[in-house]
């Protein structure tokens, strides 16, 4: 994985409309983001369109990204993932609904709690997911990586919708407790 500081610098230069930086950012991150998008999208053609949309958003919103102690990869992954989920559920939705998160992610004042979060890693998340029942951990993972809705999750785990909701909310609270321990 590319160096965090490098990616941050590239995003800062993209904010100044630096095309060379954009091209560099693309070559360093597009394979990862395409992998993320492919998990969510229904097919490859759609995934390619989504990746295009995501990088167009990166170019246009780079000014909103600020180095604030957060991983620039999280910013990029969130844009790609939300774009993919929007595309998947486009029916009845405006295509830019997922963009609001770009604004909230630009908050320059992470609290002390948030700063410790930046240091959290996959191992910690894995350990906390392991504390959940297997199916419940899988539900969280499916929702994130596949972009499953509550209805899709309920279908997959063969439980009523409301049960699914209750499951997942409880799982999130447990996960949060574990992650902030």
């Amino acid at each position: 994985m590319s160096d965090v500081k490098d990616i941050e610098d590239l995003i800062a230069r993209v904010a100044l409309q630096d095309r060379a930086a954009f091209s560099d950012l693309y070559s360093r991150t597009s394979a990862k983001l395409f992998g993320v998008v492919l998990r969510v999208s229904n097919n490859r053609a759609e995934a390619e369109d989504v990746l295009q949309d995501a990088f167009v958003k990166v170019w246009r919103n780079a000014g909103k990204y600020q180095a604030n102690g957060f991983s620039p990869m999280t910013w990029l992954i969130t844009i790609a993932r939300n774009t993919a989920i929007d595309a998947k559920r486009r029916k009845g939705r405006s295509p830019n609904d997922g963009d609001a998160i770009l604004d909230q992610m630009a908050d320059p004042t992470p609290g002390p709690e948030a700063q410790t979060i930046a240091a959290s890693d996959r191992a910690q998340l894995g350990a906390c997911l392991d504390e959940l029942e297997q199916a419940r951990a899988e539900a969280v993972t499916r929702a994130y990586l596949h972009g499953d809705s509550y209805a899709e999750l309920a279908d997959h785990f063969d439980v009523p919708l409301n049960t699914m909701r209750t499951w997942l909310r409880r799982s999130l609270l447990k996960l949060k407790d574990c992650l902030t321990r």
Binding site: Q17, D18, Y26, S30, A31, K32, F34, G35, V36, L38, R39, E48, L51, Q52, V56, W59, N61, G63, K64, F70, S71, T74, T78, N82, I85, R93, D97, G98, D99, I101, L102, D103, Q104, M105, A106, D107, P108, T109, P110, G111, E113, A114, I117, A118, S120, D121, R122, L125, V140, T141, A143, Y144, L145, Y150, R169, R170, L172, L173, K176, L179
Partner: protein, 230 residues
């Protein structure tokens, strides 16, 4: 509900929001709260950061070259030759230097709760198209030396941008930057720009993404408005 219940509720809500599990209605309500509640923003960021770690298990897949070509066509297709690209780069760097005098802060970066239109602006302007398909409000906060600009109606066309210009008397328009796609744009004005503001005109033109590369408006002028006292 006790305070703890509320807090727990928000912790789960923020997670649901990041996962994309909310109904459209709940999401709109949540996003409205995000604009004003710092703690909720912090929770949402934490979830974004935590859950993004899941992608460490995702194998990279190199996209076909047509994806990058498509992106470049969509973003930069206004330039047919590499020669014009070279010129653009020249002008581009000039604009960055000029940008130090009048830099644009996008979105909610400025303050903890995001920038707000000043409540007691010294000067205001309404930049509007004749048919009012585009209506943009501008307000100058004299104390901060900042111009706040917000679209009330209309916006940039797909793949295009709205650029703001300051025109004083018979002088050439001076770019104040490209308007943020959503929300508020805040422009820090130079002393000279502040001085000429009363009686000057603000205009908005249709430009390629990133703004005019020539230093002058290149697309249609979509709206103009005189800067007046409140």
């Amino acid at each position: 509900m006790s305070e703890t219940d509320n807090h727990n509720d928000d912790r789960a809500l923020a997670g649901e929001y990041v996962l994309g599990l909310m109904s459209e209605e709940d999401r709109a309500t949540f996003e409205h709260r995000l604009k004003v509640e710092h703690d909720l923003r912090a929770l949402t960021r934490e979830w974004s950061e935590n859950l993004a770690r899941l992608t460490e298990d995702v194998d990279p897949v190199t996209p076909p070259p047509r994806v990058l070509k498509g992106i470049e066509t969509r973003l930069f297709d206004d330039e047919p030759t590499s020669l014009s690209r070279m010129f653009r780069n020249w002008f581009g760097s000039g604009i960055v230097v000029a940008g130090l005098a009048a830099y644009v802060i996008f979105g909610t970066d400025l303050l903890e709760r995001g920038p707000q239109m000043p409540t007691e602006p010294a000067l205001v302007a309404e930049i509007a198209a004749e048919d009012r398909s585009l209506v943009v409000q501008a307000a100058f906060d004299a104390e901060a030396g900042q111009l706040f600009v917000q679209a009330e109606q209309g916006g940039a066309r797909d793949g295009r941008a709205l650029e703001l210009w300051l025109i004083e008397g018979g002088n050439a328009p001076v770019s104040l930057g490209v308007l943020s796609e959503d929300g508020l744009t805040v422009v820090a004005l130079s002393d000279e720009q502040r001085r000429v503001l009363p009686g000057a005109v603000l205009a908005i033109s249709d430009e390629p993404t990133g703004g005019s590369t020539t230093g002058a408006p290149t697309g249609d002028v979509l709206g103009v408005g005189e800067i007046t006292n409140v």
